[in-house]
């Protein structure tokens, strides 16, 4: 019932309300510089009114809740943009280092060393003292090889650095997921929407979600209080209320996905490592067999999740036979075979059916675990057309690190490997058909095979240049060391005068062909998978002539280089030990070695301007000069870096724009808070005055009895 007492109540409520408002304003002012703090306000509501004469009389004010100013919609967009921004930021920051590496290489490293390499061969074509020129060639080739090795090693170091970054980020992500779940639990304990809002906890959760979004692309579903879900953009749940799921950074592995009718009882196995995932899909029914005649299942391989399939140099889709461990198939950087489900060397039974698919991840990847036994590969992946695989992570610094490691540096490494491989092959192809100042009495090739009985041109031979071999033959000449007179010569005989066929003949066949043709003069044998040829008579020596098959270069016999990629490419030990083995001349039609003709040196020097075939497993074949190809790598790195920089600036601007908008809503404005402070102080003073007025009124009433 209204009266003087109710005025006291009204004053008391007003006093409390103003006090709360001053407290909240004070909290806003004190948190003006706190990251992630959203300004708060007290929601003031008019208290109930009582029907009375002369009419309804109010009963004061109610401070119903303390709420925070926060725009959920802007925040949702902001987390998306932050993920994009950090992806490009991580990529750009790291690509700058690679760009520096290649720019340096183009001016002082590989490019200039290669120019010098061609010049040295050119020098060897002119008459003069050749020993000094040979030494100069070896010295400058070492410089070129060092430049290639150091570039490759620097890139490998950067990849390994990325693994460290990823590992750290994954640990932080899992920590953040647990923190968010814990805050959800606390919010559930404290939050009563519209009455007791857990503003500080909500702010803290927002900060954690932002931190998570910097590392990976996420979606959130907020159903109020602690009923808050975080998912990857691809849909994997990370936090569901108080429950968390883990992501893990794990080593190489393979998975199989058999068709409904398949009775295949086995698994795929691999050797080696690569930056790309291999999708193996069976295209023709069959078994796993070493029978070269047929019956083996055929499969194709994709390096971009099944979007495009590997092709040969003519652009035709490559098909491989399913082989057991003894005949591993070389594909890209891996050797692949099929074994039993438990033993890589075991026998795989059953039949592979068309559509059976195996996925090989020959590198450390990122996996999402729903339960302890189920895992989903969420390693970021880019298709060959440059589009993201949206079933995987596509944002955040984790994606940037993975793309840098696999798509960017992985591609550059593949191209540098292709460059080194092509340099070795093209030079060796010419060099192996030439002669130096000296001939050989005992020579071992540098390229080994895995299987001495497998056809040299097949994927199972293990030969680095298996795909380069052609049907044809080669000439060997044997001389008397003292007189220089030719003792014997001829091409190899693969049975009835047949030529070498890479699809049929193995290393054992090559050994037999040499032993048959040069019986009593030369002896060929297999030494640790390599071809060894030696003269039977210590007074004889031998040299090589025209080779239409590529066998000499393929087996590393009489070559200038050994090794087949950027990290293994070296000078052949023979030419290093004795520069006289550098082949500058050739054996003419009469079997004479003319040391002054320099035909081979000329041919190698002319390689500088000749287009050659270079190919990578992912990008296929291209025909360019070696210098042009290397300059293209430098150009690609520059373009990728510029694109990453632009994308970072682009997404950063949009993210900043959204952050500004959120700040406009939830940021603390000190001027506004000061105004509010004065306003609420006056309210407080007035409420106090109201109480003292009511008190005086009571005094007046009390004094009436006197």
């Amino acid at each position: 019932m209204p009266g003087v007492n109710s005025i006291l109540d009204i004053g008391k409520l007003a006093l409390f309300a103003s006090q709360s408002a001053i407290e909240v304003t004070g909290n806003n002012i004190s948190n003006v510089n706190t990251p992630g703090y959203s300004r708060q306000r007290v929601n003031l509501e008019e208290s109930i009114s009582i029907d009375y004469a002369p009419g309804q009389l109010g009963t004061g004010v109610k401070a119903t809740e303390v709420f925070r100013y926060f725009d959920e919609f802007v925040e949702e967009q902001f987390t998306v943009k932050v993920a994009d921004r950090n992806r490009w930021d991580a990529l750009w920051q790291n690509l700058r280092s690679v760009d520096g590496l290649f720019n340096e290489s183009s001016s002082r490293g590989i490019s200039s060393a290669m120019d010098q390499f061609w010049n040295d061969w050119q020098d060897l074509t002119s008459p003069g003292v050749s020993t000094a020129k040979r030494e100069a060639l070896l010295g400058n080739t070492r410089t070129l090889l060092n430049a290639i090795h150091s570039t490759q090693a620097d890139m490998a170091r950067m990849q390994s650095q990325m693994n460290g970054f990823i590992e750290q980020e994954v640990e932080e992500v899992n920590g953040l997921l647990h923190d968010i779940a814990e805050i959800n639990r606390q919010i559930n304990s404290h939050d009563i929407p519209g009455q007791n809002n857990a503003n500080a906890l909500l702010d803290r959760r927002t900060v954690l979600v932002r931190e998570l979004a910097q590392r990976m692309d996420i979606d959130t579903i907020d159903n109020g209080s602690g009923n808050f879900t975080v998912l990857t953009k691809a849909g994997q749940t990370l936090v569901d209320g108080q429950e968390t799921f883990e992501i893990k950074f794990e080593g190489p592995s393979s998975t199989k996905d058999l068709t409904a009718g398949s009775n295949f009882a086995g698994d795929v196995y691999f050797d080696g490592s690569d930056d790309f995932e291999y999708t193996v899909e069976v295209v023709q029914d069959g078994s796993v067999t070493s029978n070269a005649g047929g019956g083996a299942a055929l499969f194709r391989v994709s390096l971009d999740g099944g979007r495009t399939w590997m092709t040969d140099e003519d652009g035709n889709e490559k098909h491989f036979s399913a082989r057991p461990e003894g005949e591993k198939v070389s594909i890209g950087d891996l050797k692949i075979w099929f074994g039993s489900e438990t033993d890589s060397g075991g026998v795989a039974t059953g039949t592979l059916r068309q559509g059976d698919t195996f996925t090989i991840v020959p590198k450390e990847g990122l996996y999402w675990y729903e339960t302890t036994s189920s895992r989903v590969n969420i390693t970021p992946q880019i298709y060959s057309n440059g589009a993201d695989d949206t079933r995987r992570l596509t944002g955040g610094s984790l994606t940037g690190y993975f793309h840098f490691r696999d798509y960017n540096v992985g591609r550059y490494q593949d191209r540098l490997d292709a460059f080194a491989k092509s340099l070795a092959w093209e030079v060796n192809r010419l060099h192996s058909q030439g002669t130096g100042e000296q001939k050989y009495s005992d020579l071992t090739g540098t390229y080994a095979v895995d299987s001495t009985s497998a056809p040299l041109g097949s994927n199972s031979s293990g030969l680095a240049f298996a795909d380069k071999l052609q049907a044809g033959n080669l000439q060997i000449y044997v001389y008397d060391a003292a007189s220089g007179q030719m003792v014997s010569n001829g091409s190899l005989d693969f049975g009835g005068g047949a030529n070498f066929d890479p699809e049929v003949h193995s290393l054992d066949d090559v050994v037999n062909a040499i032993n048959t043709k040069f019986a009593g003069t030369l002896t060929a044998e297999v030494a640790s998978g390599r071809l060894r040829i030696k003269s039977n008579d210590p007074n004889n020596e031998f040299a090589f002539g025209t080779d239409t098959s590529g066998l000499l270069a393929g087996l590393g016999v009489n070559t200038f280089f050994q090794g087949s990629d950027a990290s293994s490419l070296e000078l052949n030990a023979n030419v290093v030990q004795d520069p006289d083995f550098i082949a500058t001349s050739h054996v003419n039609g009469a079997g004479e070695t003319n040391h002054g003709d320099n035909t081979t040196a000329k041919a190698i020097a002319e390689l500088k301007d000749r287009k050659v075939t270079l190919s990578t497993a992912r990008e296929g074949a291209t025909s360019q000069t070696l210098s042009g190809y290397f300059n293209n790598i430098v150009g690609t790195v520059g373009a990728d870096t510029a694109a990453a920089e632009y994308n970072y600036k682009f997404h950063n601007t949009l993210a900043q724009n959204l952050e500004d908008r959120q700040e406009e809503v939830s940021g603390v404005n000190l001027d506004e808070e000061m105004g509010n402070l004065i306003k609420f102080q006056h309210s407080y003073t007035a409420a106090a005055k109201l109480i003292s007025t009511a008190d005086k009124m009571l005094q007046t009433v009390m004094s009436l009895k006197n």
């Binding site: 802007v74 967009q77 632009y646 600036k649 682009f650 601007t653 949009l654 900043q656 500004d660």
Partner: protein
Amino acid sequence: MQSRIRDNMHRQAGALKVLFGLLEEEFACLTGRDPQAVTGIELSVQELLRQVAMERVALRKLVVATVPGAQNMADFVATLPQEDRGEFERLLREADEREQACAVQAEKNAQLAYALVEQSRGMLDFMHRQIQPKDTTTYGRSGRYAQHHPQAALLRGRL
């Protein structure tokens, strides 16, 4: 006449260099979220483009006056003695490279400006959706209160 053509090309090359600088500055203003500055730069860009266009019209007239029937600078350069061609070819190449750089930068600026507009529009659309009545057919065309079945229903009417 030849020197006037050369001067004109030098002016164009200079203008394109300035244009590229302005476009880069515009990009910096966009990334710095300073729309007022963007407006000022855009006015300068437009004025510079107008001047470049005028220079080009003048150049065409000079070229036609020098080599009647010439379609472009290449036709003019072809009539020069070999020793004089080098400078013109260099100027043409420079102008072309700068023009391409300007085009790329302008495209970047346009993409960023468009993305910012799209972002604002997205938020505006969201706000519109929030303030619009969810149910837009509360009253039917006949003025009767419409019956709604917000959930999917296989059967209608009384059972």
